[in-house]
Symmetry: C2
Subunit: 292 residues, 2 copies
């Protein structure tokens, strides 16, 4: 069974690495903070001095990091994964980063005979814990085939979207849909409340029709309970929408809904970026109802 290195054991990466270890993969872990790593080591994982040393002892290295800069530093930087992985090794980045960066990393690693996949996920902390993530992969068919048995321990759906970077493009699409749908649900529930109607009943009714979505179900419930503890932080969604805006500009398409979601997340982050991304609801002030 291949030895797996895992870099980034936060809210998402920690539970994901744990699933692989429980599935029997020998695991080597590394994290900036001790959070996550300590538990995994207690459960049998080893650790390493730096990403290069970690990679040197592994057949495959996975990363789950906050953004483009962190992934580039860990992979291509001094003492990076690139210097450690042997020819024939596999690198899988499950972070959400700029598609162009994923293509650049894949090209650099290919030059050293290393297979690379970008494989960002949807489903959040809950999906990571329950191993119910949706995985969107970019890279060669061969690399995808090698990673698939491990993806199956992490999620319920793994789709190879296309070549390097394609997984990140799909993730951008995902975040556009998620961000705009959160805004839609927030507006609908705010309007119900302002019009003197029970928003809980509205959510219940709407879940039976064309408006039904996972966002209405899960985040509608959060909004009704005013529960905005993350989950997925607003700062991270703002980062994703910034990547989206950049990709849309590169691709030459005008996306006004994406633009609106970007502005909404910027506004929310200016208030409190540590709130869950469902907290867009807080941007809509509901006046006291005249017909409560």
């Amino acid at each position: 069974m291949m030895t797996v290195g895992w870099i980034g054991t936060g809210n998402m990466g920690g539970p994901m690495a744990g699933h692989l270890m429980r599935a029997g993969y020998p695991l080597v872990v590394l994290n900036r903070a001790s959070a996550g790593v300590t538990e995994l080591i207690a459960a049998g994982a080893r650790t390493a001095a730096n990403p290069r040393a970690l990679a040197a002892g592994c057949d495959a290295v996975f990363t789950m990091l906050p953004g483009t800069a962190e992934v580039e530093a860990v992979v291509l930087g001094p003492d990076g994964v690139r210097g450690g992985l042997k020819t024939g090794g596999l690198f899988v980045d499950m972070s959400s980063i700029a598609p162009a960066a994923s293509r650049r990393i894949a090209a650099e690693l290919a030059a050293g005979g290393i297979d690379a996949l970008d494989a960002p996920v949807s489903g959040g902390e809950q999906g990571a814990i329950e191993a119910s993530l949706a995985i969107m992969a970019g890279g060669t068919e061969a690399a995808f085939a090698r990673a698939l048995p491990l993806f199956e321990k992490l999620g319920t759906r793994a789709v190879r979207i296309g070549d390097a970077g394609a997984g990140q493009v799909a993730k951008v699409c995902n975040q556009i849909v998620v961000g705009i749908t959160i805004e839609a649900v927030a507006e609908a529930l705010a309007l119900a409340e302002a019009a003197g109607v029970d928003p809980g009943k509205v959510r219940e009714a709407l879940l039976g029709g064309l408006a039904a979505s996972r966002i209405l179900e899960r985040y509608g419930a959060r909004m009704l309970a005013s529960d905005y503890a993350p989950g997925a932080r607003a700062t991270l969604h703002l980062k994703d929408m910034t990547i989206a805006a950049q990709l849309a500009a590169e691709a030459g398409v005008d996306l006004p809904g994406m633009q609106l979601a970007l502005e909404r997340y910027a506004e929310l982050v200016a208030r409190d970026g540590n709130l869950d991304h469902s907290a867009l609801r807080l941007l809509i002030a509901s006046p006291p109802s005249s017909r409560a």
Copy 2:
């Protein structure tokens, strides 16, 4: 079993009235055009000279009409339903109209001892045909209890949202979510295509995660097939978004996503209002891909 009058037998009302007749309710039908009515009469329904005459022979009258003006004319106008229904009768409007109009109609009918419900639906033509509609009702508990056995022949979920007009408020909320989510899915699939990635794969992957919705499933498939035959016409969604804008202004809430959807539907209707409301996808011009 109560005798049911049904006014408005178009794409939605026709199949709905048919379900009630097949469930054993004696049916009297009326429509501006002969479409729908002819089939129902051939299957055993009676007809009447006008709404008043229809109502005079019925215990309950249902309407399924295009908008506020049509419903007000049929119920409160000369030879209207109001003049025909007896004290203790039931009136159920399943059209999508302005909440204020539903409240006005309910008040007028209550003065004559008639129970009224506003009970708009979500699910479209497919939902009407399959009897899988979501029904959002406003009115008294007693009126809802009387209508519920009939609603159960028309849909899979019927929720009493609140008093008169509350069903229409919920429908407005529904259309806000549906309209904005259509825009979200259109933008995501357009971006995928413009970025040189297979939008079909993106849809497949996103359906496994937090972006999953009935819109992504059904309308995503329509967009991929460029199938914009209605379904639900863009003109009708524009009407609904106009009601939404009016309700938001009355309620004093600022809803930028709703405003965007209103503008998108106005733009689409200016091109071709007879297209399905999923045709918002056509507003996003995808340049030839540089990485196809």
